[in-house]
């Protein structure tokens, strides 16, 4: 199987990698590039643990081929913090203890960032619908939603 040479941008950094035609973007991130913040949950697009952005659109990295990243801008959890400073959303997830095992957390934070970019003042219902593709089997979502709503308020400068 001939390797494919892919030129892409990941978290703003020009990046190149070699992959097989059957490599998913998720596997490329985790194994080729050692960006292991993006998690594999179901591998079938149901759980959202592998949520990343491709050209500013939220997607499941397990349902994208690595080869499709050619020329694209990919955003992962590793790009959320600024240097050593956690983002507001990351801080709020910690403050509200919105995680237990942590497998869903990178995906939830990437998705929350996209939600608040699109809708800075979501209702709780809107937030729950937007995040319905991010499954969490630990928290029962209550603390997650509190962290999301608090993040939104803080980012709007209201808290």
């Amino acid at each position: 199987m001939a390797k494919i040479h892919v030129n892409t941008t990941i978290n703003g950094e020009p990046t190149e990698f070699l992959c097989d035609p059957n490599d998913t973007l998720l596997n490329v991130l985790r194994y080729n590039l050692e960006l292991t913040g993006t998690k594999e949950g179901c591998g079938s697009g149901d759980c959202g643990a592998c949520s990343v952005t491709v050209n500013d659109r939220l997607v499941c990295a397990c349902l994208v081929l690595g080869a499709e990243a050619e020329g694209a801008e990919v955003g992962t959890i590793e790009g959320v913090a600024e240097a050593n400073q956690l983002s507001v959303i990351q801080t709020k997830f910690l403050e509200h203890a919105a995680l237990q095992c942590g497998i869903c957390t990178p995906g939830l934070i990437v998705s929350t960032q996209e939600l608040l970019k699109e809708n800075p003042k979501p209702t709780e219902e809107e937030a729950r619908y937007f995040l319905a593709g991010n499954l969490c089997r630990c928290t029962g979502y209550d603390k997650v939603i509190k962290a999301v709503m608090d993040s939104a308020e803080t980012l709007r400068g209201e808290a």
Binding site: M1, I4, P21, N22, T24, G43, S44, G45, D46, G48, S51, V54, R57, L58, V59, C60, C62, L63, V64, L65, A67, E68, E70, S111, E114, L115, Y129, F130, L131, A132, G133, N134
Partner: protein
């Protein structure tokens, strides 16, 4: 995963050539929300994928006085954000919005939903009730197939090897026409239709229905156009008696199965209820036009 080769055509001609050549199974890759899952399944034969997303016409949509020309691979997230399309075909946009999660919406497309040909696909009844036409390009040129004839069975469509769905065209509806799509799922989000109904209604100035199309989904091998349900609405003011007659016609036309998502009896009943409610919504929308 079974993908052994990844190809990126820059034009429709190149795509058709790639889809026509070779001994190995070749599939079109658009959003991949169905294809990549299928390719990951065990015992899948080696697969060549042709990623058609670099072909601009596959990804865009335009709407003007003659109707909607939709690039089949436009991600639903982009499609459902198009207020110009929503203004004319609110039911179709709602159907597209119901597919999967936010993440899936970022990749899935109306054309992919159609080609994947699931009996429970949400956009198919909405396309059929709006009289959508499928423009197919292949080694022998172009042909156009009505959406109701495009899907031929469970996960089967009318395209031959080498053919590609080039665009979906929906003619501009008559004045005072609108549509609606409803489905039943036991959850509120992220689920597959147990039954669905798409309805398009045209009213005259007196509020009398002059034309209608009713299409039901997830209650047969393919989505079914139900002329008897449309006939029950035409000539009426979409009153309760007409709605009840349409519901009964839809239930009678359905050929549901019993599976883990619902019994045949339940589906037969619910598809009638959905038809009635969708017809009411479409009529209320048509009045506003």
């Amino acid at each position: 995963m079974a993908v052994v080769e990844y190809k990126v055509p820059q034009s429709l001609e190149e795509a058709v050539a790639m889809l026509s050549s070779g001994d190995q199974a070749t599939k079109v890759l658009a959003g991949g929300t169905d294809l990549i899952i299928q390719a990951k399944a065990q015992n899948t034969d080696p697969l060549v994928v042709v990623d058609i997303k670099k072909i601009n016409t596959m990804m865009g949509a335009s709407i003007d006085g003659s109707g909607l020309t939709l690039g089949p691979s436009m991600p639903c997230a982009e499609f459902t954000a198009r207020e110009d399309i929503k203004a004319v075909f609110p039911g179709l946009v709602e159907a597209a919005y119901l597919i999967g999660s936010t993440q899936v919406q970022g990749r899935c497309s109306v054309g992919g939903n159609l080609c994947n040909a699931s009996p429970a696909a949400d956009t198919i009844p909405a396309l059929i009730c709006n009289g959508a036409q499928c423009v197919i390009v292949g080694p022998n040129g172009e042909r156009t197939v009505a959406a109701e004839d495009f899907v031929t069975g469970v996960a089967q469509n009318c395209m031959q090897q080498g053919e590609l769905l080039k665009s979906i065209q929906i003619p501009q509806p008559a004045a005072k026409t609108s549509d609606a799509y409803l489905r039943f799922i036991p959850r509120t989000e992220m689920d597959i239709a147990v039954a669905g109904a798409g309805v398009s209604i045209t009213l005259d100035d007196a509020g009398v229905c002059t034309a209608a199309r009713v299409c039901i989904g997830a209650v047969a091998v393919t989505a079914l156009l139900v002329p008897a349900a449309a006939d029950a609405l035409i000539g009426s003011t979409i009153d309760d008696a007409a709605l009840q007659a349409a519901a009964e016609a839809a239930s009678a036309a359905s050929k549901p199965i019993t599976d883990r998502r619902g019994t045949a009896e339940f589906r037969r009943h619910v598809v009638g209820v959905l038809t009635k409610r969708a017809a009411k919504i479409a009529a209320d929308r048509a009045k506003e036009k």
